[in-house]
Structures are given as C-alpha cells and as structure tokens.
Subunit: 203 residues, 2 copies
C-alpha cells in the first residue's frame, strides 16, 4: 500500500500547544516533512531562510500567486505570506507526509484547494486550561489575555470545518493520536483503489 504522502493541515488556538506537538511529531518520525511558508517580510534576528520562512521578494511572491504556486496566501501588516505548493507536491510524490501548521483562515483556503488533505484541529482540554497556559507564559496584562481568549474562542468555533480534533492533554497522548489518525487515513479505501485493482487484475 505504498502511495503518495498525505498533506496534513494543523490548526488550533495559540496556547493549545501546536508547536510542542509538531516538534515531537517531527522528532519521532523521520518520514514527516514540515512545510515552510514564504514571506515578503525581512528576516528577523536569528531567522534562517528556508527553515523559519522562505524569504522572497514581493515580485517573486506576485509571480507565485499568478502561477498558482501557492496553496494559500494572506497579507498581514503590509507583508505577504503564503504556502508554496512545489515542495509539498515533491515530498508527497516521494511518499512523505507533509505537515502544515496554519491559522484557520489559511486552513480553509487549503481545504478548498486540496480537498484530499487531512485537517486536524488541536484543542486545549478546556478554556480554563487554555487561559492558565496563556497566563503562564509571562507577565501579560489581563487585557491582552482576554483578547487572546476571545480570539481562541473564535478559532475553536472553526474546528467544525476540520476532519479531526485532538485534545492536547499530554503531548505524548496527542502525538500518539495524531499518528493513529495518519495511519488510519492511509487505510482509506479510496486511497488504495490502485492496490485493490492491481490485486484483482493479477489474479
């Protein structure tokens, strides 16, 4: 049942622990690849081109848009951001599952362009735990925390558009459940139609 790799779209509110989960997923499975966004903004101190972002010119970005080489794109504070489709397609063709972390609007654009992608929404165990995690990060003012909680609430409302949800109770459990979702998706009959046809024709 060797097939193209999957495109896995990952979203969830800030504080749900997406980054920690992704890091662990990539550490524990050498077959996964992480999609890197392209941006027209300047690199910040310490950011590495091709790792944190593909840093490209506005002209290049416009060309990619025009040539339909971006799975999604957005503008933020005057800078453009987007997901290049080229590397994703190449990795998938090599059988690698590609993971793409993105906020809910971008996730929705990708689902429209790639209905075959597997979308997973990371949830906190509860809104109380989410607030604790956001507060635990540092010395943010109450007002900032409240704004983030309102944003998280809006993001979680979008979870209904995702295929799967995973509660980040413990990182190990969440990573294990995500791996099981990916395994299950590879066993979908429609992804194995070729295998079944070959089996029947070689009889």
């Amino acid at each position: 049942m060797k097939n193209d790799g999957l495109l896995i779209v990952f979203s969830g509110p800030s504080g749900a622990g997406k980054d920690t989960i992704l890091k662990r997923l990539l550490e524990t499975n050498a077959d996964y690849r992480l999609s890197v966004s392209a941006t027209t903004r300047a690199p910040r101190e310490g950011e590495v081109d091709g790792k944190d972002y593909h840093f490209i010119t506005k002209e290049k970005f416009q060309n990619m848009l025009k040539n339909d080489e971006l799975l999604e794109s957005a503008e933020y504070c005057g800078n453009c951001y987007g997901t290049p489709s080229g590397p994703i397609r190449s990795w998938q063709a090599e059988g690698h599952d590609v993971i793409l972390e993105i906020e809910v609007q971008g996730g929705s654009q990708i689902k429209t362009k790639c209905p075959d992608c597997v979308s997973i929404f990371i949830l906190p165990p509860s809104m109380e735990v989410l607030e604790q995690r956001l507060r635990g990060r540092g010395t943010e003012a109450d007002e900032v925390i409240q704004k983030r909680m309102m944003r998280a609430q809006k993001e979680i409302e979008e979870a209904v558009h995702y295929d799967y949800c995973v509660i980040n109770d413990t990182v190990e459990k969440a990573v294990d459940e995500i791996n099981q979702i990916i395994c299950a998706e590879k066993h979908k009959v429609y992804r194995n139609a070729d295998f079944i046809e070959r089996m029947l024709n070689h009889a």
Copy 2:
C-alpha cells in the same frame, strides 16, 4: 471525549483471516463487543445460543423484521439470518464499540441503515496468498478452490464501498491497524461536536 461506541462492520473474502483477526481484537480489548446474528435454523452440534447465534423461531424473526429490529437480513437455504439492532444500540449507548462480521451484501444493507458505521474490509496480501491459504486448509478439490477464488474476486470488488481496507499480512499488524482506525474515527470532529460546544459554552 466520551461518546457512544462505534459500530464497526467487518468484511472480507473467506481465507483473508477475518476470524483470527476478530478473535485477537476481542482478546486484546475488553471494551469491544461482538454482534451475534439471529437465525431460524436449528443449532448444530456444539453451537451455543446467544454465542454462536441467537436461535429464534420464524415467527419471532418475522416480528423483528416487521418492527425494524434487524439491521440487515438474508435468506439462505430456506433459513433466515439477521442482525438484531437492540443489543448493538445498548452496547453503543454504554460506550462500547460493537464489531459486526458480515458478508458484503449484508454490509451494504448496514451501511444504508447506519451511515455512521465504520466499515473495514480485510484483504489478503495477494490473490496468490489467498489461494495458498484456501488450499492449505485441507484436501479440497481444485474445482472447489477455483469456485472460492471466483467468489473472493467478486467480494474484493465490493471493497470499494467500504471506508477502510486492511491487509492481513500478519495478524498483529492488522489488529494494530484496525485499532488505529477505530482511534482515529473517535477523533472525527463531527463525533465530538458536543464536546467542542460544551467547551465553548463553559468559557
């Protein structure tokens, strides 16, 4: 994410190893329940009522049909067979996943009545291996083996109507993959809509 248990429909050609897989699944997970068919045929030597089949009268069977208490039914050699929905619904309500082994025609009836069921088709690694397994069983005549192979071919053609397929290469691997499919299905967003709503409303 505590919900109703799943209804898992299991099919596959004779020789694919469904029975061994099911036995191992039930041995290794005390939460699974196995659906028992009802039949109007007389018990054979050693068969236990309620374990091998629910042995019932024709009148009782007709009543169950009339009252829509069977998820599927079929007649074979003048005897009626069917899947009682009552025990399945009760187990599901208690949170147990219910496994139902059935041939492809029955599987199709169940998918129509219970679109929410998870259907899994067990495949042999190849038609050659299937033939070896069928021959290995005993001293069947070539003609019998050929008939079974033709039937298997027809059954495998129906695999396209199932949600998932699992290749029975080794029993351990197949059982592991089935458990992962069941885990993944429990994380489908639509099965957790209540949880997400409660989370948002308790914010």
